[in-house]
């Protein structure tokens, strides 16, 4: 398959006797949103960490655009086109909204070793940063301090920083976390359009969002993928209903 953007091959990770990832193979195709769902403690965060570089799998491989990136650190994977958002916003709270997206644009430019030019005067970086803010609808909060943003705005900013990287694949860890119904709906609409730019590996608890967005769903339980399929297939799968959706088949 030539349009596999991101792939894990049998990645395994144990913490003592706990097997958090038990031979997980999952792939992300161009143009799709692939959701990973699973109960708490299923190993979703461990999976994301291994894909993004925070954790090294005990066995197995992570491939980005066909290239083995298993041994690369987080920063190198980001440079190869992995755009990640965090479950708990990881933003520079003391800095302004603009500075946070400027950081993304700076990372994308790969030229942080400039000591004397003012970064805010760099038109290329600034255009890239403001374009990302406009796409998520934060253009009016440009100069607000990030600490002063609402929770929903921080979620938007989190996505905007990932956008500045213009990544080949997005890995989003519960982007809807803590959003109200209205916020989830807006973000769902936004992510829906984003899949054409780059496919999204979406870990999410909000089932409405998952069912509305996902082209495929993988269900992770106790470190194993127990099912992968379309929304309808997953809804009908008896094992999934029992293990996760909670109602007896």
């Amino acid at each position: 398959m030539t349009d596999t953007v991101l792939e894990t091959r049998g990645i395994t990770k144990s913490f003592g006797s706990l097997c958090a990832s038990d031979g997980i193979s999952i792939d992300l195709q161009a143009g799709e949103i692939h959701a990973v769902i699973g109960p708490n403690g299923a190993g979703k965060s461990t999976l994301i960490h291994q894909i993004c570089g925070g954790l090294r799998p005990d066995a197995g491989q992570v491939l980005l655009q066909g290239q083995d990136v298993t041994a690369l650190p987080t920063a190198a994977r980001a440079r190869k086109g992995l755009g990640r958002t965090f479950q708990i916003s990881a933003l520079a709270m003391e800095d302004s909204v603009l500075e946070n997206v400027m950081l993304g644009a700076l990372g994308a430019s790969g030229r942080p070793w400039r000591f004397f030019v003012p970064v805010m005067g760099d038109r290329t970086l600034r255009d890239r940063a403001t374009a990302a803010l406009e796409r998520v609808g934060l253009q009016d909060a440009l100069h607000s301090r990030t600490a002063a943003l609402s929770h929903g705005q921080r979620r938007q900013l989190e996505v905007a920083v990932a956008l500045t990287l213009d990544p080949r694949a997005f890995v989003m860890d519960e982007p809807m976390a803590g959003l109200g119904a209205e916020g989830s709906k807006t973000l769902t609409g936004f992510l829906d359009g984003l899949r054409d730019q780059a496919p999204i590996l979406l870990v999410e608890h909000d089932m409405d969002a998952v069912f509305a967005l996902a082209d495929r769903i993988s269900v992770l339980v106790y470190g194993r993928i127990i099912a992968t399929g379309t929304v309808d297939e997953i809804r009908r799968d008896p094992a999934v209903r029992e293990a996760y959706l909670g109602d007896p088949a």
Partner: protein, 326 residues
Amino acid sequence: MIRERYVNAALLAGLLAVPLYALLVDEPFTITLATRAVILALAAVGLNIALGWGGLVSFGHAAFFGIGGYSMGILAFHAQNFMPLDLGFMVFDGTKSMPVIWLVAIITSALAAFLIGLLSLRTSGVYFIMITLAFAQMFYYFAISWSRYGGEDGISIYIRNDFPGLNTLVPIQFFGICFAALVLALWLNARLVASPFGLALNAARQVPVRVQTVGLDPTRLKLVAFVISGAITGLAGALFADLNRFVSPSMFSWHLSGELIVLIILGGVGRLMGPVLGAVLFVALEHFLGGLTTHWHIALGAILLGVVLFARGGVIGLLCGPKGQS
């Protein structure tokens, strides 16, 4: 709240006005005192780049201050005693020229900061504090046992080193040199903070994981900040040695590392002029309270306690409000 820019300008103007007034009324000691404040400020400006922007609580910046001091001491020692310095690959006569001494001080302290940073940055938090302290103590004990350069007694330099076109023995002229170095370092500091590097460093302090996910290496950013920081503190060390015309292992002592941190906390961590204000307060307290009692550190401790408890942004924070709001 007063705009930070005005406070900064007033502070620099005041720091310049005091020795000029002292010159007018012929009180050379006040000029020396102001020079001391300027040099300590310069050392703390260096530390502030690592501590304030990089979030690196270095408890070992005396290492760079001392290396700067000994660079001056050794070069001037060989020059004044007409003893060529045999480096193995070349023989050097030593020098009494300040610009050459500064260059050597900057290069050697930057090199030391690179090596110390490379190892220390593998740790963080309290371990970083301890490992930087340990490195500085290594230099301290090495200097004590370095009998060739006076060991515990240090090195005395009979005549202050030369600067082209100036008579450095005239207090106000030496003050001018130090003040210019401070202004230059502050200008560099301001440019750095506003630069792409500064943006990335600032984020690396707050959320290293974010910096990684945009494809940058936070450790490397911090290492570069640490090297720049060490180089500036090293330059201050060379000037300090020239002020006293004396170098001793006490320049490497952990008291000095602690004092530099205290200066920054007093003035304001991560504020451009925080170290300058801190140094001025420190030297003023040392002079006025120190004249009344030898236990003046008690008062300093009380003031520091007050700042830490009630004015977390230091005196600059008290005057201008939290960072980024003026």
